[in-house]
């Protein structure tokens, strides 16, 4: 399974922009928001937690359809399915690889973008913590969505429709944690919920994703 993780990371680096693309998208969305809502600092402070989370979520969504589509097109997926790797393990590794290539860079870059949106100083640590805890769930849920739609031509838009409603709880708890941090309130409850969603997703969704993959490979 480590071999698969290494290969996916190598592919992300060499395909040029595997790491960078989601990050650039994140930056652009965050830069566009003040153009849309106006430059008023107080307003930006107010909406910064939500904007940063929504932008991170969309950036994660952007690269989901590549999780299985490339392996499906070149025939790697049936070969992996007949290899000794359990397909559940393949799904888990794909989720982890997606997180390392998108969720992790987003988490690291988010505090810097917080400055652009005039995020309250007390919120930075919560922004970082909530993204660190929450983006793995986004990747794993997305892996499930990608597994459902892997056999479909033009499955990308459909996948967004399937995955976005599943993102609702993660988004709510993530943005709420940052908002509470910005208001100087305790953010432990939403962070714990976020951690719960992430752990639950990693424990259960690989099974659902591999079931979907098996059906799609038939």
């Amino acid at each position: 399974m480590i071999a698969l993780l290494r290969r996916d990371l190598a592919l992300a680096v060499r395909a040029g922009g595997g790491f960078g693309l989601g990050l650039a998208f994140f930056l652009i969305v965050v830069v566009l928001v003040p153009f849309g809502v106006g430059p008023e600092a107080a307003l930006l402070t107010l909406i910064a937690p939500g904007i940063l989370w929504v932008a991170a979520l969309l950036a994660a969504l952007l690269s989901l359809d590549r999780i299985f589509a490339l392996d499906f097109e070149d025939g790697s997926l049936p070969l992996l399915a007949t290899s000794p790797l359990p397909l559940e393990g393949v799904a888990l590794i794909k989720g982890i690889a997606h997180w390392i290539t998108t969720g992790l860079p987003l988490t690291l870059a988010a505090p810097a973008l917080g400055f652009l949106l005039n995020l309250a100083p007390s919120a930075y640590v919560w922004l970082f913590a909530s993204l660190a805890l929450g983006t793995p769930a986004l990747s794993m849920i997305g892996t499930f969505g990608a597994a459902l739609t892997v056999g479909l031509r033009r499955g990308g838009l459909l996948m967004s429709l399937l995955v976005l409603p599943l993102y609702v709880p993660t988004l709510i708890f993530g943005a709420e944690a940052v908002r509470r941090g910005a208001d100087g309130l305790g953010a432990a409850t939403p962070l714990l919920m976020l951690a719960g969603i992430t752990l639950g997703s990693f424990a259960l969704l690989p099974f659902a994703a591999s079931a979907a993959l098996r059906v799609n490979l038939k």
Binding site: L161, L162, P165, L166, P169, I172, E176, I197
Partner: protein
């Protein structure tokens, strides 16, 4: 004789087709009776005036919106475990009815909410949950439409239905956590203390019974249609080979 005999498509159609007119008739009678009773023979609410009467549409449709999803969850599980085609097709047949119920609950809620809260829409937990439920129905139906092979579609939508149910419940709690809301507490519950007065309660029960029977009749009709579509496809496939 076991209940699974009716999972045979032919037997299902033969058994349910004669039932449909009866179910439709009774449900329309109940709906007409219940709505007339509710609209014209119950007093106005002392605070909400006659606007409260939309309750006879709002509550049953909201109830059905959730219960239809629940029925889809059960039929999806039956399909995955026992591989009865009728079960998967019943889930497919129910989804459009469920989404209509959800839209109805949202629209009647907006019409009711406007005079009460002074707004058509508020990001209240209950309203928001129904909006999320609407998105789940939409995704579920879109997945059915997108996949050509019917068994593949049945498998994948069933998996989506199960995972979606977990996330729908999770969303419900998340949304509660996020905003306490304007909506009054549930109008109906098994705990009598919270319930509306009997004079509103009985016509509401009649309406709910009407909605349930209407749903059953529609699902049976639509399932029969789905079975016939599958039959045509199966026959075509055999003729080609």
């Amino acid at each position: 004789m076991s209940i699974w005999e009716y999972a045979n498509p032919k037997k299902f159609i033969a058994t349910t087709t004669p039932l449909v007119p009866w179910l439709l008739g009774v449900s329309i009678a109940l709906l007409v009776g219940g709505l007339i009773w509710g609209f014209f023979f119950t007093p106005d609410d002392f605070r909400q005036g006659s606007t409260v009467k939309i309750f006879y549409l709002h509550v049953p449709s909201a109830l059905m919106a959730i219960n239809v999803w629940f029925m889809m969850l059960i039929t999806s599980l039956v399909w995955l475990v026992r591989r009865h085609h009728v079960s998967a097709l019943a889930a497919r047949a129910a989804a459009p009815i469920g989404i209509i119920m959800t839209v109805m609950a949202l629209i009647t809620g907006a019409i009711w909410g406007q005079p009460m809260w002074g707004t058509w829409w508020a990001w209240d937990p209950r309203l928001t949950s129904f909006l999320i439920l609407f998105l789940f129905y939409l995704g579920y139906m879109a997945l059915w439409e997108a996949i050509e092979d019917p068994d593949t579609a049945a498998d994948l939508t069933s998996v989506l239905c199960i995972v979606g149910s977990v996330f729908a419940v999770l969303s419900r709690y998340a949304v509660n956590f996020w905003n306490q809301g304007l909506h009054q507490p549930a109008s109906l519950s098994l705990d009598k203390e919270e319930n509306v007065a009997d004079v509103f309660w009985y016509p509401a029960l009649v309406c709910i019974a009407g909605f349930v029977l209407l749903f059953v009749a529609l699902v049976l009709m639509r399932t029969a249609t789905e079975i016939r579509v599958r039959r045509i496809k199966a026959l075509e496939a055999r003729m080609r080979s």
